[in-house]
Symmetry: D2
C-alpha cells in the first residue's frame, strides 16, 4: 500500500444503506483520489447501489456485497457506516491486513469502557484497539489523526459543541463552576434511515420537540472530550431537539467566562483560533448562522455573542449533520491519513436555497 497522492486510495464501506452511507458514496464517488472498491449490506447484497439511491444513477455501478464476499482486506481504508457494535468486531482482522478504519458509529468514541457499556448496552470487545483509536475531531486532533490506524469519527452533536467551545477550552477562559448548557437542534436525518414511527413524515413534520430528555449518548462523549481538550472537568447539560428539516444542526451553547477573562476579545480569539481552517467559518459579530448555509457542505459556521457585554457567552454553531457531523468529517480524516489536501473531494458549496 502506498500512501502517496498519486495512486488511488482503495476504499470499502461497511453498511452502506443508511444516510451516512449514501452520503459517503456521494462524496467519494467524485473524490479525485479514491477508488470505491466495495460496499456491503447483508440485506441488499446483489442489488445496485444506484437502485436504492437514485441520485447515484450514472455515477456508480457498484453493487452491494455481503460482508463475506467483499474484498475488504484489499482496501486501504474501510469506513463503518453501521449500527454501534459492528466495527469493534471487525477491527482486529482488518488491522492485521493493514487496513485502516474510520468508524462513524460510537465503538471507539468513549475511552472509558464502563461508560460505553452503560450507554450502549454492550461490552467493548477490543479495549486494546480502543486505546490506540484517535477521536477524529479533525481541527483539534489533526496530528494524531495523520498517524492513526483507527479513527473514532465524532458524533454529530459533539462536533458542534466541541468546535464551538474549543477556543475557550484551550485558553482556559471559562468559569470553573460554569455549567455548560448545550441546547441543540437537529434535522430528522440524524435519526437514520431505519423504519420507525417516530420519524415518519406524518409525525415529525410541522412539529418541534425536545427528545432524549432523560439522557442522551452524546452527553458522556461531550464531557469526556471537553475534559481532554481543557484538562478540566465541566458539568455539561445537553438538550437535543428535533427540527422538521432533513439536514442541518444548530447548537446554541451557553457558558460563563471566568472573572479573569472578562477583558478578552472573544470574537478575535475565535477568529485567530480558526484562521487557517478551511472548513470552520467564524462569522462576523452579530451574525446568526443558518443551517441552510452549510447544507450539503463540510463547512461549520460559528457566531459568538455576549449579550449586554456580560459574563455569559452564547455560541451558535451550524453544520450539516450528515457532512461535517458525519461523512464529510470522515472523508476529511481520510484525506489527512493518506497525505492528501484536507479539502480533497470536499469543496462543494452549500445548496441554498
Amino acid at each position: 500500500m502506498s500512501n502517496t497522492q498519486k495512486s488511488l486510495i482503495n476504499v470499502g464501506i461497511v453498511g452502506g444503506t443508511g444516510y451516512t452511507g449514501v452520503e459517503l458514496l456521494r462524496l467519494l464517488a467524485l473524490h479525485p483520489n479514491v477508488k470505491l472498491r466495495s460496499i456491503t449490506s447483508r440485506s441488499e447484497a446483489g442489488s445496485k447501489v444506484a437502485d436504492m439511491f437514485p441520485n447515484l444513477r450514472g455515477h456508480t455501478n457498484l453493487e452491494f456485497q455481503t460482508p463475506d464476499e467483499a474484498p475488504l482486506e484489499e482496501c486501504d481504508v474501510v469506513f463503518f457506516a453501521t449500527p454501534h457494535g459492528v466495527a469493534m468486531n471487525e477491527a482486529s482482522h482488518l488491522l492485521e491486513n493493514n487496513v485502516r478504519i474510520i468508524d462513524l458509529a460510537a465503538d471507539f468514541r468513549l475511552q472509558n469502557t464502563q461508560t460505553f457499556s452503560q450507554w450502549y448496552g454492550i461490552e467493548h470487545s477490543c479495549p486494546n484497539i480502543l486505546s490506540e483509536a484517535v477521536y477524529g475531531l479533525t481541527e483539534i486532533n489533526r496530528e494524531s489523526i495523520k498517524r492513526a490506524r483507527v479513527i473514532a469519527n465524532p458524533g454529530c452533536y459533539p462536533t458542534t459543541v466541541l468546535l464551538g467551545l474549543a477556543p475557550l477550552l484551550k485558553s482556559s477562559l471559562l468559569c470553573k463552576n460554569t455549567q455548560i448548557i448545550a441546547d441543540c437542534k437537529s434535522g430528522v436525518s440524524g435519526a437514520g434511515r431505519k423504519a420507525s414511527v417516530g420519524t415518519l413524515f406524518g409525525e415529525a413534520s410541522d412539529n418541534f420537540k425536545a427528545y432524549g430528555v432523560t439522557g442522551h449518548r452524546h452527553n458522556p462523549e461531550i464531557s469526556e472530550q471537553i475534559s481532554k481538550i481543557s484538562g478540566q472537568e465541566y458539568d455539561v447539560l445537553f438538550m437535543p431537539h428535533l427540527v422538521p428539516m432533513i439536514r442541518g444542526m444548530l447548537s446554541t451553547i451557553y457558558v460563563d467566562l471566568s472573572k479573569d477573562a472578562l477583558d478578552t476579545n472573544v470574537q478575535d480569539l475565535f477568529e485567530r483560533f480558526y484562521a487557517n481552517e478551511a472548513f470552520i467559518d467564524v462569522m462576523p459579530q452579530g451574525s446568526s448562522p443558518e443551517t441552510r448555509s452549510v447544507r450539503g457542505s463540510n463547512a461549520l459556521r460559528i457566531a459568538v455573542h455576549r449579550p449586554g457585554n456580560n459574563t455569559r457567552l452564547v455560541i451558535l454553531v451550524a453544520q450539516d449533520n450528515l457532512v461535517k457531523g458525519a461523512s464529510g468529517q470522515a472523508v476529511q480524516n481520510m484525506n489527512l491519513m493518506f497525505g492528501l489536501p484536507e479539502t480533497a473531494g470536499l469543496q462543494s458549496i452549500a445548496l441554498l436555497p
Copy 2:
C-alpha cells in the same frame, strides 16, 4: 337501541392506533351525541389513548382494549380503522348483535369479489354481507346510507374523483369515449402510521413523485362507482402522487364533454347539483381550491375550468384526506344512520394557516 337524537350513540372503534383512528377520536370525543365506549388495539392494550396521542390529553380517559375484552356487542355502531381484511371477519358477529358497521378499510368497497381478491390478495370471507353493504359516498348514496347496516366508507382518492365527476355523470354530459384522467396528489398521512422507510421524513420531505405507477387499488373502486353513478363504462386513468405535506389531497381531473353538452353552463350545473350540501363547496369560476382551506375540516371544495371554452374540462377537487376522505365522512355517515343532523360534530373550520 333507540336511534333518537336524545340518547347517546354508543361507539366502538376497532384498531385505533393509526391516523384514521386518532382522527375518529378527535371528531367523536367532542361529538355531542356520542359516547365513546371502547377502542381496541392488541399491541397497545392497557395503555391510555392519550399517552399515544397527546392531543387527546384532557379530552378522554379511554384505554386501548384487546378485541376480546372490548364490549363491542354493546355498541350501536363500530368503526373499523383497521388494515384491509379485518372488518369482514368481524361483521357477521356484530350484525347478529344489532351493531352497525362502518368500515374505513376496503373490505366492502368492491362488489366484485374477483376484483377484490385480485387487488387485495385475499378472498372475500362474507360475500352475502358484502352484497348488502352500502358505499358510503354520502352525497350520492344518502338514502341507502340511512337504512344501511354496513357502510363501506369510500377510499380517499375515490371520494374526490367521484364527487368531482358526479354532476357530469348524473347528467350524461361526458363524451362516451373520453378517457377520464385523474391526476391526484395526496399528503403523506394517506400512507398511514406504519413504520416504513418510504414515508420517513428524510425520504418524503422536500420531495415529489408519482407512485403506484403500475396500478393502484383505488382504480377499480373508482371505475366501479363511476359505472354505478352514470350507468356507463368509462376508461379511467388514475395517477397518484405523494406531496410533502401531512394532510390534504388535490385531484386534477381531465374529461371531455360530449358534443351535445357543449352549450351547458357547467359552473351552474355544479352549483345547482351541490346547492344544498353542507360540506361540498363549488367555488366561483376561476378559483383554485387549496388543500389548506380544508385542513382538519369535512369540507370538499371543487372548481371547474374549461380552458379555451373547449370540450376539455379540468376539475379541481380538494379535501382533507383524513376527514372527508376518511374519518369525517365516516362520522357524516354515522349521523345519517342515526337520524342526526348530518353536520353534528363536524362543524369545525379548517386550520389556516
Copy 3:
C-alpha cells in the same frame, strides 16, 4: 350593554388580514356567545373575508370595512390584530363609547413607557389608559382581567416563559442570582402575514437559525412580568429561534433552584399550581411536550425536568403561538370579561397528525 351569557357579545376586529386576525375569525365564527359585527381593513375594504381566507367559506359572509364605516362604537369589545401603535390611538374613543379593548399588539404590554419607546420606536400616546390596562396572562391575572376595560394580550414567547416559570416565581423557589435562560423556538407564522423575503418558503423551509440575537422586544416584556409575578428582579437571557413549521412554539427554560428549594417536589408543585386550569397541562415526569399536540388548540403543555436531581431545572413549554400565544388567549380573556365559561368557543382538540 348586558354582560350576561344570554345575549350575544357584539365583536369588532380591527385589522383582520393577518394571521392573528384570521385565527380570531376561526375561533369567533363558531363561538356560541359571539356575534361578529365588523372587521376592518383599509386595503381590503369591500371584499369578502372568505375570499381572502377560503377556510371561512360557508362560515361567514362578513366583508372587510374601512375603519371609518365600521360600527366599532356599537360593539361590546374590539380586538386589535394590528401592527404595534394602532390600538393606543383608538383606545380613548372606544372606551368613551363603553367598548372594551383587547389588544393583540404590544401597545399596552409594557407599563414602562421609556422601555416601550426604546424597543418600539414610538412614544406612547395614552399613558393614562396604559396605566389601567391589564396584562392578559389569563391564569395569572384572572381577577383583574374580569374587571378590565383594556387588555394587553401577552406576546407569544412571554406566554410560554411566564406560565412555565409562574409556579416557581410565586413560591420564591429560584436562586436569586440565577440567570433565567429561555431558549425559545417558534414556527414561522409568528412573523406574521406580511410580504417579506426572510419568511418566504424558499428561505425558511428546511432551515433553522436563531434570530434577534442582538435583542428582541419580548425580552423586556418577560423581565417586567417576571418582576411583577415574583416581586424580584431576575436577569433573563432570551434567545428566539425560527423553526420550519407553520404553527407552534416550544420554549426550553433553564433556571437554578435556590438552596432552600432543593427538597421541593417540583413536579408536584407544578401539578398543584395548575390543577384547576382548563388549558394548562402539566405532563407526567419524563415527558416531552410536542408542538403538534397543541396545534390549533388553546392548550399549553409543560414538562419539568431536573437532570441528575441537581439545582438546575429544565422546563419545556409548548403552545400554538397563534392560539394560546395570541388569538385563543384573547378569546379566553373575552370570556372572562363577559362572565362566560372560560372555555367557551375554545374546546377544540389539537390537529394531530
Copy 4:
C-alpha cells in the same frame, strides 16, 4: 477573446440577487474554466455577495456592482438573471462589444412578438436580435447553441415537457389530434426570491394547489417549441401546481400514440434517443423519478409508462427547477458556446436525502 479551454471565460451576471442568480454563483464559483468578473444589483451595490448568500462565504469575495460600474463589456458572456424585459434592452450594446448573452428570463424565448407582448405585457424592443436568438434547450438545439450569440434559456416547465416529448415528436409517433396534457408540479423556489404573501412559508407550506388556472406564460412557449420540434401543431393543456418543497419539478405528461405507433417499443425509443446524453436519464420500465434524485444536480430523469398497453402514454419527468430548469442548463449552454466539455462544472451528485 479566445474561446479555447485554456484561458478562463470571463463571466458577468446581471441581477444576481434572486434564486437563479445565487444558483449561477454556486455553479460558476467552482467551474474550472470560469472567472467571475462581475455581478450587478442596483439595490445591493457595494455589499458582498456572500453577505446575502452565506453559503458562498469562503468561495467568493465578489461585491454587487451597479450596472453602470460593472465591466460587462469586458466579459466573454453575460448571464441575465433578471425580471423579464431587462435583457432585451442591454443586448444590443453587449453584442456590439462581442459579449455573448444567456438570458434566463423570457425575453428571447418566443419568436412570435405578438404572443410575447400578449403574455408579458411589454413590446419587444429588439426583434432583430430576437430573430437570431437560439432557444437553449441543449439536447435538442446543440449545434445552433454552439454558434449562438444570444441564448434564450428555456423556462423550467418547458424544459421538462419538451425533453419528455422530444423522442415522440421527432419520430412523429403522436396521434395528430391528441391533446397533450402536461400536469406539472413545481417547488416554491420557482416563484423567485421576491417578497410576496403567496409564497410565504405560512401560506405555501403544508399546502397544495393548482395555480395559473386561467393561463400561464409557459403555455405558448411549450406550444411554439413543440411545433418547431415536430413540425406540427398540437393542442397543449398545461396545468401547473405548487408543491411545498424548495426545489424540484415533476411533470406528468399524458399523450396518445398514433395508430401507426402502437407497435413501437417506446421504452427502447427513449433510451436510444438519449443514449449519449450526460444529463438525461431514461429510467427502467416501471420507474418513478423522484425530484430529490436530482436535487442540486443538472440531471433530468424520465420514465415512460403505457398503462394497459393502451394508446395513452404517461411520461414522468423530474428535474431541479433551478439547475436543469434554469442555471444549470444555462451553464451547460455556456460550455457548448465556448468549446468546453458539456459537463464542465456540472458534475455534482444530487443531495439525497
